[in-house]
């Protein structure tokens, strides 16, 4: 119990005293999660659209594979990415191990299925009459697609927020691929794991509170954007 109280006090101390190591970890977390969200939305949105909009053979199987990928464990993604970007792996020459870019690659793999699956589901749920109406109003193909996407923007946003929650809080990929290197690849979650490993539970709780605050800030700005 003492640790929890001490943790809450400590969280404020770390945030407002401008503690350098805390802020570097927060910055690393924001950077890497932003990157992976951009990449996963960039790839997941078109894929999800294609999957939801068109009918084709094997679509159901593809959905099953995609839904399975929603359950990819982060330590496993971390291990596979590690094997690829380690010096002896096929991508070893790019020197991505122990870098934020490496973590972003892993987190993109984590977020991509979420964005894709939720986009596909929301597109599928668009009323067929809506499309018909657009056609009858003389809209071109490009117009129809754009209007459909705009129609389901909140659904896609919900997918992005869900994916962001996973990316922000995962520790397996960051630890294995990033190596928890101070001033470089230490994120808030790996810092929590380290503080716990060091037996500094109050520090760990403080960092946890900081992470939740970060998530709150992101969701708050998104909801403001929505209200506009």
């Amino acid at each position: 119990m003492d640790d929890i109280v001490a943790g809450i006090v400590k969280a404020f101390e770390l945030l407002f005293s401008g503690d350098e190591s805390t802020w570097t970890a927060v910055l690393a977390t924001v950077k890497v999660s932003t990157c992976s969200m951009l990449l996963s939305i960039g790839a997941g949105l078109p894929c999800g659209f294609l999957l939801g909009y068109y009918e084709f053979r094997g679509k159901q199987h593809l959905r099953t594979v995609l839904d399975t990928m929603l359950a990819l464990p982060t330590v496993f993604i971390g291990l596979v990415v590690f094997a690829f970007i380690s010096n002896q792996g096929p991508l070893g020459d790019f020197k991505l191990l122990f870098s934020l870019t490496g973590i972003a690659i892993g987190q993109t793999i984590l977020a991509f299925p979420i964005v894709t699956a939720i986009t596909a589901t929301t597109i599928e749920a668009v009323d067929p009459l809506f499309k018909l109406t657009l056609v009858s109003l003389g809209a071109g193909k490009r117009n129809i697609i754009a209007t459909c996407l705009w129609e389901v923007r909140y659904g896609i946003l919900a997918g992005a927020v869900t994916a962001y929650g996973r990316v922000l809080t995962e520790v397996g990929i960051s630890m294995m691929v990033g190596g928890n290197i101070k001033w470089h690849t230490r994120t808030v979650t790996t810092a929590i794991a380290l503080e716990t490993g060091k037996g500094e539970f109050a520090n760990g709780i403080a960092l946890g509170i900081i992470l939740i605050t970060l998530a709150f800030a992101v969701n708050l700005s998104l909801s403001l954007l929505r209200r506009q």
């Binding site: 010096n87 191990l97 870098s99 928890n180 290197i181 716990t196 490993g197 060091k198 037996g199 506009q228």
Partner: protein, 275 residues
Amino acid sequence: METKKLFFILIAIMFALCSPAGVFASDTLMMATTTSTDNTGLLDYLAPHFEKDTGIKLKWTATGTGKALKLGETCDVDVLLVHAPPAEKKYIEKGFGKARREVMYNDFVIIGPKNDPAAVKGQSIQDALKTIKDKQSAFISRGDDSGTNKKEKLLWKNAGMQLPDKEEWYVQTGQGMLSTINVAQERGGYTMTDRGTYIKYQSQKGGDAPLIVLVDGDAVLLNQYSVLTLSDKNCAKAQHELAIKFSDWMAGENAQNLIKDFRLLGKRLFIPNAK
């Protein structure tokens, strides 16, 4: 169309954040090390001095010695600071490591609850392990093939026993040293730790720790830390020059004095012994 404008601003900010973080200066040395040098705070204390003296930035990832050796084998790091002499020597024989330099030591101790349920206090290490086994007292092991774990396995063997791998009372955490000590504290069990990490744990408990040192002082419990440079044949691209500078610096007078002065609760955590 305010929304669209805001949306584009948001995307622009995201891209700005996502731009590559800048390539690290070439004078950066990447090291793999054990949890004990990191958890005790020794490296946080040494790294700024190393940078001041040599201009080299030290980055490190802390894992068990087993994984640290593996990271050197795959050339993902430039230098190692580890503590498993038999494994290190084999490593050099296999052609992965080039030179091994002893830089400091402390010792392993068996710690347990103050009331010492199996009554091992003052026994030799061999007898203590036998007693723990006979009384089936909880023994918490790292179980992660780290330097400490390798040593512990060797001690069971030396005491003429098989590793109690599947015994109910033998708990393998698979975690770092301080986490493992905390498990031992929760379970009221015994564990083996390096003295440096134990002092760190003691200082966290305000000097009045629930677990105390019960067995120590045997020559076999010596815990030697060494800097290992990598073979330039196996790892052509590693930063060998910087690694040698680090090895020299660690064995030099300045670093050896710094290690000597590194104390918690007025106790020395590591004793410098470079030759």
